[in-house]
């Protein structure tokens, strides 16, 4: 448990990391470093996108599954690690 906390803290202190969000399967944030409205917005939107991405991957080959999702935009990079019970989201500005 302590290791998990440490790792989370370390991730947050890396260069360019804007926020870290952990939400459970219902979209309720468990851990977040951003404010609540932003967190809920990110969680909701990314949940839908992750579902779509997973559906795409599995449609092509049902034995496959989605493990990681990265969205690179002009300003940020959003990295999503999806799972059955939770979703880990990190937003980073890589060019900082």
């Amino acid at each position: 448990m302590a290791e998990v906390e440490e790792t989370l803290k370390r991730i947050q202190t890396h260069k360019g990391v804007i926020g870290t969000i952990v939400v459970n399967a219902e979209g309720i944030p468990i851990r977040t470093t951003l404010d609540n409205s932003t967190t809920v917005q990110y969680a909701g939107l990314l949940h839908q996108l992750t579902m779509k991405a997973r559906s795409t991957v599995r449609d092509i080959d049902p034995q496959n599954d989605l493990t990681f999702l990265r969205i690179r935009s002009k300003k940020h990079e959003i990295m999503v690690a999806p799972d059955k019970e939770y979703m880990l989201i990190v937003i980073q500005n890589p060019s900082e």
């Binding site: 998990v4 890396h14 468990i30 949940h47 997973r54 034995q63 990681f68 019970e85």
Partner: protein, 797 residues
């Protein structure tokens, strides 16, 4: 008559469906001789409007006389043949008693139906149709009710029917049928059978006669006449005695309203999308469900299982189902007071469980690496000698830097670009700051894994040591952290089992760790060993002995040298145990040192007769020979098979030797560095060094040959790091990189596959530098080195 015709003729009937003209009548007449019935019936069936035989009523009568049994023709006033068809075909055996009007027509219908049966093999339906057609059509054309026609027909029929012998005709029918069936036998199968396609009757199921008649039609006049008659009648009715008005009363039943109430039919929208993976999931879960169920369950229950498994297995719907269930629970909790006690206790441990789960840790691990990859991507690409890509979205602040670089490079345009070192990154974290890097080693199997040992060299300020395994993919936090009870002074990865790391410590302990596991404790420790080292272990090495020595097993052995003057070989035998390969005895400068004895006693009083060993190196090809360096400054060449005496001794250094390395390219050249500020290049057969290098007046802590170029080696002394290229210059280092002030550089390691150098310092940082613009010249490197040596020797002589 029809019987013989039936015999003669196979069921082939010529029908001209389009024959509506009067022509057919003639053809029909022609055929009368043969089969009057058939022809007539055909015509009757097919050609609706031309009942052509009207003109030939005489002939008809004749034919009717000729064939009294079969031709029942009913002709109305226009001479049309309106022979009614029977409504149904009675069973010929059963019906002999029925002699009603209708059945009179049956005979004709019988023939007709027989005709039909021979052609179409249908029974009642055809006759049915025929009857209908006939009757209806007749009604349509005449515009009189069908009943009237029937009546007229029946009246007319009665006459001919009286002549008939119904039973005979019926029996004829019966016989005919049987005969027909007999005819189809085997010899006839091969015959060519002509099949004629006949247009079947149009079955008219509903005929609503028009209530208006066109002015042009033929009936118009009669209709007009009737209409006028009717109007007259109506006019006459009013004052006429014939007509009397009467009133009637009908009772209207009392109406009663009845109310019925039913529950509103709730409609719920259900939608589903069948995806590829959805079907695959249900298939997999159904397969599991079948295994669970007993063998004699029917499909319905399996289907139920599938539906039940749908919910939990489908991740997509899971969230929705959970949400819906939670809403149900919350709504029900308002009504019932029992529920709320259950709900909160279930949701509490969930976040904790999630955070503690394995998968979450794994995801965090991956995420961290990805974040770092984003940060370090250009540096790592440079390390791996990949072209670095410019981020197109990065801020334009990089532009002024580029400009300045251009300016610098323009100055150097004249000559070739100078070799330089570029600092890529450094492995460090808060655990390691303040610690002295004492040794570094690459993993033999995974070239991205680096083990770094932290420990003080000096005797004072000793603190617990640390071993960190760093991965290139995460320069900010080590993958494994092992704390040791005393400072770490030596490290080496095993080659045969790539996850074994041997660690030598300042208190003489040797421990091996398994870096694959997450345990913090060593696999084995030498602290229980009787013969363990009593002084700091300065070097450990896994050596692969190809040749077995004295019955010992082949394979890898751990060799260590320590300050208590012993070079020991360690192996596992009920715990870690060692045997001494060599005891480093103290030697004197003069050559006759072997005779230990009076001379020694006279000169000095010694604390121990062992010379502390500081370093050793095995020959790259011959694993029996090794060199050992002592604190006295002597290099001893020893053999594993001879542990009493040294083979050779090389004396040149005036201070403790910190490192000896064989050249990986030239097998009899080696380098040594010591605290007397010098690096010496030796050849195995010469007892004086071939070349000596001195650049500063600092103790040289580490020296290493480059794994890529034979003439290049790197050295690190207290203040700076140097790269020497003997092909370029034997007097000065080619690249010099000074250390940050206050920090001493303590160890050096070349990267095996790339042009990078790692330098460890006393502040706990391991910096990674890349050699840029560095080429060690053309030609074979080995040749160059040997040339240099040869030329130097020649010049010396």
């Amino acid at each position: 008559m029809s019987i013989p015709t039936a015999k003669l003729k196979k069921p082939t009937l010529k029908v001209t469906p389009s024959s509506r003209a009067m022509n057919i009548s003639t053809s029909g007449i022609l055929r009368l001789n043969r089969s009057a019935t058939y022809a007539r019936s055909i015509n009757a069936s097919v050609s609706r409007k031309s009942f052509c035989l009207a003109a030939d009523s005489k002939i008809l009568e004749k034919s009717s006389v000729q064939t009294p049994k079969h031709t029942i023709q009913v002709l109305d006033e226009n001479g049309k043949d309106v022979t009614p068809r029977p409504v149904y075909q009675p069973d010929p055996a059963a019906v002999q008693s029925k002699h009603s009007k209708i059945f009179a027509s049956d005979t004709s219908g019988g023939t007709m139906s027989d005709f039909y049966s021979t052609t179409y093999q249908t029974t009642t339906n055809a006759s049915f149709a025929g009857a209908f057609t006939r009757s209806l059509f007749g009604s349509g054309s005449v515009s009189i009710g069908s009943q009237s026609i029937m009546e007229s027909m029946s009246e007319e029929i009665e006459d001919p029917s009286s002549k008939r012998d119904n039973s005979i005709s019926l029996s004829d029918v019966q016989v005919k049928r049987e005969e027909v069936k007999e005819l189809i036998q085997e010899e006839m199968l091969d015959d060519m059978v002509d099949l004629y396609l006949v247009e079947s009757d149009t079955l008219c199921l509903l005929d609503m006669p028009a209530i208006s008649v066109s002015v042009d039609s033929m009936e118009a006049e009669s209709v007009k006449e009737r209409n006028s008659r009717y109007t007259e009648l109506c006019k006459n009715r009013t004052g006429n005695d014939k007509y009397m008005g009467r009133s009637m009363q009908t009772f209207n039943g009392a109406s009663k309203t009845k109310e019925v109430q039913s529950e509103a039919i709730t409609m719920a929208d259900a939608a589903t999308i069948a995806n590829n993976w959805d079907m695959y999931d249900s298939f997999c879960s159904a397969g599991q469900g079948e295994v669970d169920l007993s063998t004699d369950t029917d499909k319905a229950s399996i289907a139920e299982m599938i539906h039940q498994n749908h919910g939990p297995t489908r991740t997509m719907e899971r969230t929705m189902s959970v949400i819906s269930s939670s809403t149900i629970v919350s709504s029900s909790s308002s009504r019932m007071e029992m529920e709320p006690f259950v709900v909160p206790s279930e949701s509490k441990p969930d976040p904790e469980l999630i955070l503690q789960s394995e998968e979450f840790q794994q995801h965090l691990f991956v995420m961290e690496r990805i974040i770092l990859e984003n940060i370090y991507q250009p540096k790592l690409a440079a390390y791996r000698q990949l072209p670095t890509l410019e981020d197109p979205d990065s801020m334009p602040k990089a532009v002024p830097m580029v400009v300045s670089r251009r300016e610098e490079s323009s100055l150097d345009e004249e000559g070739p670009p100078t070799p330089a070192l570029e600092r890529l990154w450094s492995f460090s974290c808060e655990l390691t700051t303040g610690r002295n890097v004492s040794s570094m080693a690459w993993n033999k199997r995974n070239p991205d894994l680096l083990a770094v040992g932290y420990g003080q060299f000096a005797f004072k300020d000793q603190k617990p040591g640390l071993v960190c395994c760093w991965s290139l993919k995460n320069p900010s936090w080590p993958e494994r952290i092992f704390t040791c009870q005393s400072g770490v002074t030596a490290l080496d990865f095993s080659a045969s089992s790539a996850s074994m790391l041997a660690v030598g410590m300042h208190d003489g302990t040797i421990a091996t760790y398994n870096v694959q596991s997450r345990e913090k404790t060593p696999v084995i420790d030498s602290s229980d060993c009787v013969h363990k080292h009593t002084s700091p272990v300065w070097q450990v090495r896994w050596i692969n002995h190809e040749r077995a020595l004295s019955g010992e097993d082949k394979g890898e052995a751990l060799i260590s040298v320590s300050a208590d003057g012993r070079i020991s070989k360690w192996f596992l035998r009920k715990g870690l145990d060692c045997i001494d390969l060599m005891k480093l005895k103290r030697t004197r400068n003069d050559r006759f040192k072997r005779q230990v004895g009076e001379k020694e006693r006279k000169s000095e009083a010694l604390i121990s007769r062992q010379a502390p060993g500081l370093c050793f190196d095995f020959h790259p090809t011959d694993s029996n020979i090794y060199l050992a360096g002592t604190e006295e400054g002597h290099i001893h060449k020893c053999s594993c098979s001879y542990n009493e005496q040294f083979l050779e001794t090389y004396q040149a250094h005036k201070g403790p030797l910190y490192r000896i390395t064989w050249s990986p390219f030239c097998s009899d050249v080696f380098l040594s560095c010591s605290s007397d500020w010098t690096i010496q290049l030796w050849r195995q057969d010469l007892f004086t060094p071939v070349l000596g290098f001195m650049s500063t007046q600092r103790a040289v802590y580490d020296v290493m040959w480059s794994p890529k170029w034979a003439t290049v080696f790197g050295a690190v002394n207290e203040g700076r790091m140097e790269i020497w290229d003997l092909g370029a210059s034997i007097l000065d280092p080619t690249i010099v990189n000074p250390a940050s002030p206050g920090v001493k550089l303590t160890s050096l390691l070349f990267a095996t596959e790339t042009d990078c150098v790692l330098v460890g310092d006393s502040d706990g940082q391991v910096s990674v530098y890349q050699l840029k613009n560095f080429t060690a010249g053309e030609g074979t490197q080995v040749g160059t080195l040997e040339d240099i040596i040869g030329s130097t020797l020649a010049s010396q002589l």
